[in-house]
């Protein structure tokens, strides 16, 4: 599980405080735009240092580690694949920065199969559709094999049906491997679809996550304001 203890973020007049525990499983972060959902992910991933507070993974402090040393993988909104490299070369970077061995190439091929892109390793990202690019990026994240996966609205450019399909795929593959997922979303229906727990980010605070079903059934005041249900 991930613990955020006494976190205070301050940058350019923006402030956010967080005291929350994320259980393993699928958690959604929802809230109005500009509230700091992506900022929370950036902090967990190591792109942004909090002013104070500790970040613990399974009881171990990870706050001081470089992004690549954290038990974390992340899918961004865009630029998840290097456009000048083939899909296979992109995926291999999750394993090694030199020429991959035959065994590593086999793992890349297997990961592609798992996300439904068998034999597509030779193509460039631009030759793939938006949904296929999302799948390739997901395969890369699976190869990184980190226990915590962060999703910063990576599928927001996709249509509703495709987005739901991708979320189901992420939930299934992460579930199979026991990977915890924290997903930023501005769509409550996405949270309701896949998230076991949901946390609200609003008014400068990351509220502790609660079980998604009961939360939406009886939303507290802050969430009601966001959802627009009086």
């Amino acid at each position: 599980m991930l613990d955020l203890q006494g976190i205070e973020i301050a940058q350019d007049g923006f402030r956010l405080s967080a005291n929350a525990r994320f259980e393993t499983g699928f958690t959604a972060l929802i809230g109005p735009s500009g509230a700091g959902k992506s900022t929370v992910l950036n902090m967990i991933a190591g792109f942004l240092a909090p002013k104070t507070g500790r970040i613990l993974w399974q009881g171990q402090e990870i706050g001081g580690l470089a992004p690549a040393k954290r038990p974390v993988s992340i899918l961004f909104q865009d630029n998840n694949l290097f456009p000048h490299l083939t899909i296979a070369a992109n995926l291999a970077l999750a394993l090694i920065t030199r020429r991959p061995s035959a065994k590593q190439q086999a793992r890349v091929a297997e990961a592609l199969e798992r996300v439904g892109l068998p034999g597509m390793g030779g193509r460039r990202p631009a030759e793939l559709s938006g949904g296929q690019q999302g799948r390739a990026a997901l395969a890369r994240v699976l190869l990184q094999d980190r226990p915590l996966m962060l999703l910063d609205e990576p599928f927001s450019a996709l249509g509703p049906a495709l987005r739901a399909e991708m979320l189901d795929l992420v939930a299934r593959l992460a579930g199979e491997r026991g990977i915890a997922v924290i997903m930023v979303s501005h769509a409550p229906e996405d949270a309701a679809r896949v998230a076991v727990q949901t946390a609200l980010v609003a008014d400068g605070t990351l509220h502790p996550p609660r079980d998604t079903g009961p939360l939406f059934a009886d939303p507290p005041a802050g969430l009601r304001a966001y959802l627009g249900t009086a």
């Binding site: 190591g46 992004p67 690549a68 974390v72 993988s73 630029n79 290097f82 920065t97």
Partner: protein, 500 residues
């Protein structure tokens, strides 16, 4: 960390390469009392010709840019692309082309003579200004055209629907903003233009400070005086660089200049005829010297003397070496601070650097022995500001787009350059390499101070042939130099685009 150290090492190297010669110049320079009336005349002429050249270039560029911005005609994209060509055109080649058109036996005099007009002489101050306008009219046109294209299309639509005066409402405010910057850039370029003054100027009424430095070396053998003059030129350059820094004018490399906006003004008969006349004037003025180079050069090209081929080989070596050195220096320096360091190259002209380097090496070796390495180094430093301007935005974009992804994958240091940054920079690197190689290939500056016949580059060899009145060989060599400069640019630029 080695990665952090690199920009520092690069900056120190560049600063050392610049400051060392400058210190040598200051060390050796006598007081200003050692300067005589001819030297003050050179200072005055340098400022005066730069101001006139810049003013004429901008004044002519305004109607040409307006015509290009609002008329649609076949060949428009090609003409706009050609406006970028003078940047990589060797000065001495252009001078030879201008001589073929405006010189004693040139086209204009032959036509004018047939009509009984008085002969025109290109040597002297008007030749210097003519050549500077030839080189800078295209740059001014590009800068001002950029201003026109930056006016939002909606404004023209609004003006058309109100039948409002486009000139007073939209164009005049834009020109007041853009034209001073364009004037400043061209003024600075003309302050340090050595080869034009060398070939077309001279004498009491058309000697620039840089030409006076050269003459102090070559004719007076007076290193102290050369150093003092170099100090004067350095002061000019520093003032100019500071002025540019404050004005921060646009750079003219902007892409997309061949866009065409929908315009409702200037479509009536008289305006169209005027625009066509301006475009025809610009095209004729810019293209006829180039055409003459090709036509006049072809016969000489087949029977070039062997020393020309040797000089071409030397030039090619220097150009490729300068390109490699520039890129090696530019990559770690492509930051805001690095760009400021690169500005040193604007402040310190090639001839000033050359003077300093001459003073440094002369006690130890014969300067001619150092001619090629010194030229290579100076060319690299001269190209550095342009290369940094091209690379920095692209490098910043690559870091912004892919920095986080690389960080999560643990790609750092050399690996980051190999896997991410260099591949992302391929196009601008190719373009920058092409520019540097072409600039170095055609450079006639510091080499003139150092070289003798055995160490001449192709531009210097060409200058020697002109001085010896071997015009057929000179014209053949000019065509060879033109082909090599444009060819290097084309090859390197294309190398960056392939498979991109």
């Amino acid at each position: 960390m080695a990665q952090r150290a690199l920009p520092v090492i690069g900056a120190i190297l560049v600063a050392g390469l610049v400051i060392g010669p400058v210190v040598a110049v200051i060390w050796r320079a006598g007081g200003l009392t050692s300067l005589g009336a001819p030297d003050y005349a050179a200072l005055w002429f340098t400022l005066w010709q730069a101001a006139v050249s810049a003013a004429v270039s901008v004044a002519l560029a305004i109607p040409v840019a307006r015509a290009l911005s609002r008329q649609r005609f076949p060949g428009r994209s090609l003409l706009i692309a050609l406006l970028g060509a003078p940047f990589i055109l060797p000065v001495i080649v252009a001078v030879l082309g201008l001589l073929a058109v405006f010189g004693g036996n040139g086209l204009v005099n032959r036509l004018g003579g047939a009509m009984g007009l008085p002969r025109m002489d290109i040597y002297g101050y008007h030749g210097v200004i003519l050549a500077h306008v030839f080189f800078n009219l295209p740059l001014a046109t590009r800068l001002i055209l950029q201003g026109w294209l930056a006016i939002p299309a909606e404004r023209f639509r609004l003006a058309a629907s109100l039948d409002a005066p486009v000139g007073r409402l939209l164009e005049w405010p834009m020109l007041r903003r853009i034209a001073p910057g364009a004037f400043a850039v061209i003024f600075v370029i003309c302050l340090t233009s050595f080869a034009v003054a060398l070939t077309l100027g001279g004498g009491p009424r058309a000697t620039t400070v840089e030409l006076a430095i050269y003459q102090a070396f070559k004719f007076d053998f007076d290193l102290g005086k050369a150093a003092t003059l170099a100090l004067v030129q350095l002061a000019l350059g520093v003032c100019a660089a500071l002025a540019l820094l404050l004005l921060s004018p646009p750079d003219g490399f902007g892409a997309g200049l061949d866009r065409l906006q929908q315009r409702w003004d200037g479509q009536a008969g008289a305006a169209r005829i005027g625009d066509v006349a301006w475009i025809a004037f610009a095209a004729l003025f810019l293209l006829s010297p180039l055409a003459m180079i090709v036509l006049a050069g072809l016969p000489g090209l087949v029977s070039l003397p062997p020393e020309v081929w040797w000089a071409a080989l030397r030039s090619l070596t220097v150009a490729l070496g300068a390109t490699a050195l520039t890129l090696v220096l530019a990559l770690p320096l492509a930051t805001r601070a690095g760009e400021l360091a690169g500005l040193l190259g604007v402040a310190v002209s090639g001839l000033v650097l050359g003077t300093g380097l001459f003073l440094i090496v002369q006690p130890f070796i014969r300067p001619a022995e150092a001619a090629l390495p010194v030229t290579l180094m100076v060319n690299a430093l001269m190209a550095l500001p342009f290369v940094l301007r091209i690379l920095r935005p692209e490098l910043e974009a690559a870091r912004a787009d892919f920095g986080k992804l690389a960080a999560t994958l643990g790609i750092t240091g050399w690996t980051l350059w190999r896997i991410v940054l260099l591949p992302r920079l391929r196009r601008p690197l190719g373009f920058a390499a092409g520019l540097t190689a072409a600039l170095s290939m055609g450079d006639l500056g510091v080499i003139a101070l150092f070289a003798d016949g055995d160490h001449a580059t192709l531009p210097l060899q060409l200058y020697g042939l002109m001085g010896a009145y071997r015009m057929e060989a000179a014209q053949g060599a000019a065509l060879l130099l033109l082909m090599m400069s444009l060819g290097l640019f084309w090859l390197l630029d294309r190398g960056g685009r392939a498979h991109a």
